[in-house]
Symmetry: C2
Subunit: 433 residues, 2 copies
C-alpha cells in the first residue's frame, strides 16, 4: 500500500459498503510526476478566506462613470468587453439614476430594511394590498433572463455622447448602458388579480421609495403581458443600486420604466406624466410635437471580443464573440461581416436564447493580418433588423453629421457597430470618423 | 408647461427628430401624489458607490464552515435555502479543497497571475501545447449551465455528518456542497485535437498549480464527451477559490475531478492513482475490495423553501420551491408530497432545464396549519429515481441505523429529504430522528 494512503485509512477500514461499479483489487504503481512549465510553487493569496468571496486581484475591470458632462456620481457603464456568456455579474450591472442626479446630488441608493418595507397596490382596485418581501416570497415565482437598457445607450450626440464617439471607445463606452440578469419575482398580473383590478383601468403608476419618488406610467396591456415585481437577481437578492428589496420589471422597455425600490403601484386610467415622462424622455418631432411614451428597445448587437481598446496578437484564428438583444422578443439571427460590410455570414447563437434577453453569438475568424472592419447585425423574431448608421439617420430624416454636431440627444440609437482592426492588431471605433 | 420640465428643456429644444409612435400635442395636468404606507423618506445608504458593487447590509447569508471535525479552514457550504433561480452567486459557491487541509494547513487559493500562468498538454500527443489564458480566449468557446457537487454532499455518517443529521439542519447543512454556474470555456476535445492525441490514449491526468498539485484521472471517453477547460463563471472570471485563471470541468462527475488552477493535462493509457483516487474517494465493499472510480453523481433534489430553520407565518398559501439535478443528464420530473409521502404530484420545472445542471421546481401549496412533512423526488432523463433513505440503505445492504452509528463515510448519499412542518410553522429535519 502506498504510504500516502495511511493517513486516511479510517475512512476505508472495515466498511460494509457495497456498490456496483469498477472494482479494483490491487493498486497500480503511481506514475511519475512530469516536468511542468513552472515548477516553482505559486504564492498563496495573502487574503484569508472570508464568508463572502472576492475576485482575483488580477481581475480589475469595473464599472465606469458615464463621462461627458454627466461624469458626476450619476451612474456606471457595464464593462461588456470583459463579460462572458449572457449574464452581467451583479456588481458590474450598469447604474443610472436620474431624479437626484438632475439636482446634482449624490446618488447613493436608499437603505431599505426588508422587514419594514412595504409595497402598496391601490387606486382602481376592489381590495387594496400591502405586501412585505416575505409576503411576495410566498407567492408563485418565475425566474427569467431579461436585459435592461437605458434608452440613451449608444447616444452619440452632444457632450453626453463624447465617450461613445471617440475613436478609442470601448464596448463599455459604446454599449455599456445595458446589462442582463436572471431575475426572480412574482408576475404582476397575479398581484393585480388579487387586488381586483377594475375593468376601466388602463395604466399603472409605479413609484419608488427613494426620497425623490421616481414615478413611471406603464400601459395596462404591457402589465398584463409580462411585467414582474422582482426581488432576485442572478440567484441573490436584488442589489441596492438595482432596487433592493424589490423593483418593477418591464421586459424590453426603456430602463426608466423598471422602477427601483418599488413601494407603490396605483391603478389608474391615464398616464401620470411624471418628471421623466414629461422631460428627457419625449423626443421633439420635426412638426414641433413630441413623441411620448416610446417604450420598446429595438434590435441591437455589439461584438465584445475583439472590441475597441483590445489588441490582437497577430494574424491567425480568433473567435469573434458578442451580444445581441431586442425589446421585441427573441433574437432570431445575427450576421457578422469581417470585410468591412461587403459580405455577411450567419453567426452561431448560443443557448439559452431567451425572449428580451442578451443572446451570445460566436463566429470563427481567421485574420490575415490586413486592415479591415468587423461588424454584427441583429434580426429579432419579428424580423426587425438593426440598421446601419446611414439607415438610422434616414429613418429620422437627419444627416449623419448630426450624430457628431447635433445638440439634441438621440435616443434608441441602435446602429450597427463596426470595429476597425489595424494591420498592427489595434481595435478602434471608426463609426464617427 | 410644468415648472419641473424647464431644467431639462435643452434636451428637447428645436430638435429635428421624427419618429413613429404615440404623439401628444398637449400635456395633461400632473395627477396628485397619493398617500403611501411610509411617507418618511428613507435614509441613503452610508456607503458611497464604488466601482464594484456590494450587497445590501440586510443580506447577510453566507457560506458556512463545514462543521464536524472538519471545521478547519477547509471549505464552505452554499446557503441554498436563500438561493433564487438556478445559479449560485459566485461569492457563495461551495468550496472544498482536500490536499492541503489533510495536512491541517490553511487553504488560501494560489495567487496565479494570468499573464504568466500556462496550461501544458503533453504525454501521448503528437504536438505538445502550452497555452496562456489569452490563447484560450482566442479559441471557440461555449457557455453552459452545470452543477458541481462533492461526492460527500449529504453524507450523514461519522463526525463529518453531524450537521447533516441534526434536527435543526438547514438546506445549507444537508445539501450545501453543491452549486451551479454558467461556465464559459473551451471544449477539451478541441484542445486535444490540436495536440494530436494518439489512438492508444485512454485516460488523462489533470494537475493543479497549487503547491500540492492535486492530480486526477479522467477516462478519455468522458473527456471526448463533454469536458471543458473553463475560465468564466456567471459572466466573470472564475474566482480564485474556484480555480482562477482556469480549471478543468467534468460535467456531472464528483467535484474532485474538476481540477482547479489547471496547469497540466497529461495524455496517458492508465489512471494516475493520485492521493485522492487511492484514499478518501474509493469505498470499501463487503467483499473487502474497493469500489474505485465512481464518478457520476446520482439524481437528487431538495426543497429550499420552506426548508430547515425557516418559520411559516401561519396557515395559507406557500409556494414550495427547490432544486433538482443529476449527473446523468437533464432532470425529467420532480414530484412533491405535502402529506409525509402518502401521495405525490408533479412539480412544475422552470426553464431553463439544462443537462447536468440545477433545475428549479415549484409547487403550489395551501397549508392547513396541521403538522406534516414535505418531500421532493427527482427522476432524471435516464429514468433514474432518487431513493428514499430506506431504499438507499437496501442498495448498500446496510441498516438505516448505520447512517447515525456507522463509522465509514457514505458517499453519493442522495436520499429523499423530508422537511417536517410543525403545527406552529417551524421547519425541521426529521430524516435521522
Amino acid at each position: 500500500m502506498n504510504p500516502k494512503q495511511s493517513g486516511r485509512r479510517r475512512f476505508l477500514k472495515g466498511g460494509p459498503l457495497l456498490a456496483a461499479g469498477l472494482a479494483v483489487g490491487s493498486i497500480p504503481v503511481l506514475s511519475g510526476r512530469s516536468q511542468t512549465p513552472e515548477d516553482e510553487p505559486p504564492q498563496r493569496s495573502s487574503k484569508s478566506r472570508n464568508s463572502y468571496g472576492e475576485r482575483s486581484r488580477f481581475e480589475n475591470f469595473s464599472q465606469r462613470r458615464l463621462g461627458g458632462h454627466l461624469s458626476r456620481d450619476y451612474g456606471f457603464r457595464n464593462p461588456m468587453q470583459d463579460q462572458l456568456g449572457i449574464i452581467t455579474p451583479v456588481p458590474l450591472h450598469f447604474i443610472l439614476d436620474h431624479d437626484r442626479s438632475l439636482e446634482g446630488l449624490p446618488n447613493d441608493p436608499p437603505d431599505l430594511d426588508p422587514k419594514t418595507h412595504r409595497l402598496l397596490i391601490h387606486g382602481m382596485v376592489d381590495r387594496p394590498l400591502t405586501l412585505s418581501l416575505d409576503d411576495l416570497k410566498r407567492l408563485p415565482s418565475v425566474t427569467r433572463f431579461h436585459f435592461l437598457e437605458c434608452n440613451a445607450n449608444g447616444n452619440p450626440t452632444g457632450p453626453n455622447g463624447e465617450p461613445r464617439r471617440a475613436v478609442t471607445a470601448t464596448a463599455q463606452d459604446t454599449h455599456g448602458l445595458t446589462s442582463c440578469s436572471l431575475w426572480t419575482g412574482v408576475p404582476l398580473p397575479l398581484l393585480l388579480e388579487k387586488a381586483g383590478v377594475q375593468k376601466s383601468a388602463t395604466w399603472i403608476e409605479a413609484e419608488g421609495a427613494e426620497s425623490e419618488h421616481h414615478t413611471k406610467s406603464i400601459p395596462m396591456q404591457k402589465v398584463m403581458d409580462d411585467c414582474l415585481v422582482v426581488y432576485g437577481q442572478n440567484g441573490e437578492a436584488v442589489r441596492p443600486e438595482q432596487g433592493y428589496p424589490m423593483r418593477l420589471f418591464v421586459p424590453g422597455y426603456e430602463g426608466i420604466n423598471n422602477v427601483k425600490w418599488l413601494r407603490r403601484i396605483k391603478i389608474v386610467d391615464e398616464p401620470y406624466m411624471g418628471m421623466l415622462e414629461t422631460t428627457v424622455y419625449p423626443s421633439l418631432r420635426v412638426d414641433g410635437k413630441s413623441r411620448w411614451f416610446q417604450f420598446e428597445m429595438g434590435p441591437k448587437s455589439v461584438i465584445t471580443r475583439p472590441s475597441g481598446g483590445q489588441q490582437l496578437a497577430g494574424a491567425g484564428f480568433y473567435e469573434i464573440s458578442g451580444l445581441a438583444w431586442s425589446g421585441g422578443g427573441k433574437v432570431r439571427r445575427v450576421e457578422v461581416s469581417t470585410d468591412s460590410g461587403k459580405t455577411w455570414k450567419d453567426a452561431q447563437l448560443q443557448d439559452p436564447i431567451a425572449s428580451k434577453s442578451h443572446t451570445r453569438f460566436v463566429f470563427p475568424w481567421e485574420w490575415n493580418g490586413q486592415e479591415t472592419s468587423i461588424l454584427s447585425r441583429c434580426t429579432d423574431e419579428r424580423n426587425m433588423v438593426q440598421p446601419t448608421k446611414e439607415e438610422f439617420a434616414n429613418l429620422f430624416k437627419i444627416s449623419v453629421d448630426y450624430f457628431v454636431t447635433g445638440a439634441n440627444q438621440i435616443n434608441h440609437f441602435n446602429a450597427i457597430q463596426p470595429w476597425k482592426i489595424g494591420s498592427g492588431g489595434s481595435v478602434t471605433n471608426p463609426l464617427f470618423v
